[in-house]
């Protein structure tokens, strides 16, 4: 359908998306993390855009980051240094892992863009003092955006922004739920494009397109083919081929624990309280990233519940090499899942180069085993 094609075109051509945004006289603020307060950026009149690596050869970033730095961070720095992100007017770095913290320093010191902000969120999310601090940090970021935009961000602006982001999230949840209810009703590659597109495209356009996709999916025939139900966990999984390979092997992704997936869009922002408090609450209460802490077993419990809710036959960990927070959690998540009888597979990936041939074989073996 044409709405899905629009998402595919966007996911394949981020510079093209950016050019269209710029043509509309909007400034673009990039970010690399699902904790970025997009609602604030949007309310300031800027376009929030998640950054992905173009996966070009690492040349310039070699002068800043060693080879044992994760491929996503090196890849995005390479894009920036080589001018491929010159469409950006600014970037915001929420405080997450050690590598991103240092990327923020390197980015700022080699600054190419007009606007730069660190949004130093708490690492600990389960205390009242962290809640207070989170609210103060967001208030500070709002001020920075106001200065950059040369205008005040009113509560009305924020409420309108929150309403739109809530609607986008609700539609994405709906699409995921439909896929989980009827695995195969939408191709994995389509789902990937829709989610990625929603992170980069003009949000008003996204909001126009998503309900049509939901309506279309609701009308589709329920697939009869028996498949294995798979949940994917990791940071980013920026390759449609992975979903295609998995489907060829007989599996369908029915849910995920990804930074570029459900971790990013699950969780509604409350509409009837102070907007900054409401945004802070969602960030504190949403499904947690391994670089943050709420309890020593929070992610294990989340993973088990996600797998059970989606009646997963297996969980595939798609972990970026050199991503410490995920690598630390993997052994215990695997243990928690296997205790519930859910089999797991670990794939260590490089965002720059993915060997789909080898992946296909590993997926086939795993699908046969579960």
């Amino acid at each position: 359908m044409k709405e899905i094609t629009i998402f595919h075109d966007a996911a394949k051509d981020l510079p093209g998306v950016a050019a269209r945004i710029k043509a509309g006289q909007k400034k673009i603020i990039g970010f690399l993390c699902s904790y970025a307060p997009e609602e604030l950026i949007y309310a300031a009149g800027f376009h929030p855009m998640r950054l992905f690596s173009s996966k070009s050869e690492i040349v310039l970033a070699e002068q800043h980051l060693q080879a044992y730095c994760c491929s996503l961070v090196r890849g995005v720095l390479e894009d920036s240094l080589s001018g491929r992100l010159d469409f950006l007017d600014g970037t915001v770095f929420p405080n997450t892992c050690d590598t991103i913290q240092r990327l923020s320093d390197i980015w700022r010191m080699n600054g190419r863009y007009e606007f730069f902000a660190d949004v130093i969120l708490p690492a600990k999310l389960n205390t009242q003092s962290a809640r207070t601090y989170m609210t103060e940090v967001l208030t500070g970021f709002k001020k920075d955006l106001e200065t950059a935009a040369g205008k005040e961000i009113t509560d009305v602006d924020l409420q309108e922004s929150i309403r739109k982001f809530n609607l986008i999230r609700k539609n994405l949840s709906k699409i995921y739920a439909l896929q989980s209810q009827n695995p195969g009703i939408i191709k994995g590659a389509d789902l990937y494009a829709i989610v990625k597109g929603s992170m980069v495209m003009d949000r008003d356009e996204v909001l126009d397109l998503l309900p049509a996709i939901v309506a279309n999916l609701e009308r589709r025939d329920i697939p009869q083919k028996s498949v294995k139900r798979i949940v994917v966990s990791g940071s980013i999984c920026d390759s449609p081929d992975i979903y295609t390979a998995l489907e060829a092997a007989g599996g369908v992704v029915v849910g995920d624990d990804l930074c570029t997936g459900q971790r990013w869009f699950e969780g509604e922002i409350l509409a009837d309280i102070n907007p900054i408090t409401a945004i802070a609450s969602r960030l504190l209460d949403r499904v947690i990233c391994p670089a943050k802490h709420s309890s020593p077993t929070a992610r294990g419990e989340n993973m088990v519940s996600l797998a059970k809710k989606n009646k997963a036959d297996g969980v595939i960990f798609m972990l970026l090499k050199f991503c410490d927070p995920h690598a630390f959690d993997y052994p215990y998540l695997k243990e928690f899942l296997e205790r519930e009888g859910i089999k797991t597979l670990l794939i260590e990936m490089d965002d720059q180069q993915q060997n789909s041939g080898q992946l296909a074989t590993r997926f086939e073996t795993f699908i046969h085993m579960i």
Binding site: Q63, H64, L65, Q66, Y68, C69, N95, C97, D98, T99, Q101, R102, L103, S104, D105, I106, R108, M109, N110, D118, I120, L121, P122, A123, K124, T127, S129, A130, T132, Y133, E136, V137, G140, P290, A291, H293, P296, T297, K321, F322, D324, P325, A327, F328, D329, Y330, P331, Y332, K334, E348
Partner: protein
């Protein structure tokens, strides 16, 4: 060199330090028998409230260093990898996680903790590592969250961390079922402050030419300021060590025979090759006079108020060397190059420590731009020897020293 001269160069306080550390570890290992509680704490964490509460602090990172120095790192790291931990993870963490399970290492494992205190001012790795141990030992975990100060220390961070110091005390009161003794805390705070001042003075003695000790000695003598900060023992020891250094300066005793070149070291030591590296540089008449690592335990002393300890440590523990921006780290490196009159900078690109190592290449560029000194970067790991290529590193050190020597001509 005659044996007599070599004997003269040895630092006398080393034996005392070994004795103190042995006593400390015996106390820690037998804590349970003496009805004492044990807290595991990160190296950058505020230990003083534990000392004030008579809780024995144990440092998995110090243990990691011991494992590395006793060359037991590879075996333990492999065991952790067998448990599913990636070989790309911090080798202190891998070694410690494996050690807890197999009771290995030079001590046969650390004493079981009654609580875990994790301060993330040094890295996000400790957060994950302490979560692992909180699950394994099933004991309470307190996290002191010190947001990174890339460019500044804003009031919201100050308030957040200060509030957590109070939460930390409540946590300790809950676990020990005892009231916190603020009077004792004030005394411990003064002792901690004094020990840090003394440690800074010890490190400053190497600005003398020739240097009475090297960074390799500092790596060794560091153990007390980490583990026994806040005790009279640490103050007394560092006072003696300082006196010994001052005497060596008077007597003209250098650590490196015929010291000609002075180098600055960046990042953690390569624990399993200390001797080799020390001899390698010494053969070139080069002394590693200072490093960015051991000074981290006194670097934030300017923020500490000995008379208002609890209020001031929020800032002191938040603004440590690793919890600031790379440009600020570069400024400190430049200051050290000047203060110690260094002829070269040796950077250990440490696969285990991402927050320390990422940004090093920018620091290297800044140092090259602002000073005229050569910079060498060697890739290794602090505990896992599988990431150490001796012949390659030897060649690079020789070439680096050639450049330094030629500059002198």
């Amino acid at each position: 060199m005659s044996d007599k001269l070599s004997e003269k160069r040895k630092i006398k306080s080393a034996k005392k330090m070994r004795d103190i550390m042995t006593t400390y570890y015996i106390d820690a290992m037998t804590a349970g028998q003496n009805n004492k509680q044990v807290a595991w704490i990160t190296s950058g964490g505020p230990v003083e409230p534990l000392v004030a509460m008579d809780i024995i602090p144990v440092y998995p990172e110090n243990h990691g260093a011991m494992i590395g120095a006793s060359k037991m790192g590879e075996d333990l790291c492999i065991k952790a990898e067998d448990l599913g931990y990636s070989s790309d993870l911090c080798s202190y963490a891998r070694a410690d996680i494996a050690c807890a399970i197999v009771k290995g290492g030079p001590l046969g494992g650390l004493p079981k903790p009654d609580m875990l205190i994790c301060c993330n001012n040094i890295c996000g790795t400790v957060l994950k590592w302490y979560e692992v141990q909180a699950r394994y030992y099933n004991v309470p975990l307190f996290i002191l969250d010190t947001p990174i100060c890339h460019t500044r220390y804003p009031p919201e961070i100050a308030t957040y961390v200060r509030t957590q110091i109070d939460e930390y005390i409540v946590f300790l009161e809950t676990i020990t079922k005892r009231k916190f003794d603020y009077h004792k805390m004030a005394q411990v705070g003064k002792l901690a402050y004094e020990a840090q001042l003394l440690w800074q003075k010890v490190l400053n003695t190497t600005a003398q030419k020739p240097s009475p000790m090297s960074a390799f000695d500092a790596f060794f003598f560091l153990a007390l300021i980490v583990t026994l900060r806040g005790t009279q023992t640490a103050v007394d020891f560092y006072r003696e060590l300082l006196e010994e250094m001052e005497q060596r300066i008077k007597d003209g005793i250098s650590m490196v025979p015929d010291e000609k070149y002075r180098l600055l070291w960046d990042n953690l030591p390569v624990w399993y090759r200390l001797k080799w590296l020390s001899e390698k540089f010494s053969d070139h008449n080069a002394c590693l006079v200072a490093d960015t690592y051991t000074s981290a335990w006194c670097g934030a002393i300017k923020y500490t108020d000995e008379n208002n300890f609890l209020d001031s440590i929020a800032e002191a523990y938040t603004r440590i060397y690793l919890n600031i921006g790379v440009d600020q780290m570069a400024d400190q490196v430049l200051d050290m190059i000047k203060f110690y009159d260094a002829d070269g900078l040796v950077m250990h690109s440490n696969r285990s420590c991402k927050p320390y190592s990422f940004g090093q290449m920018d620091i290297m560029r800044i140092v090259r731009e602002k000073t005229n000194i050569p910079v060498l970067m060697i890739e290794a790991d602090m505990v896992d020897p599988r990431n150490f290529s001796q012949s390659q590193i030897e060649t690079r050190i020789d070439a680096f020293m050639e450049i330094i020597k030629q500059k002198r001509l």
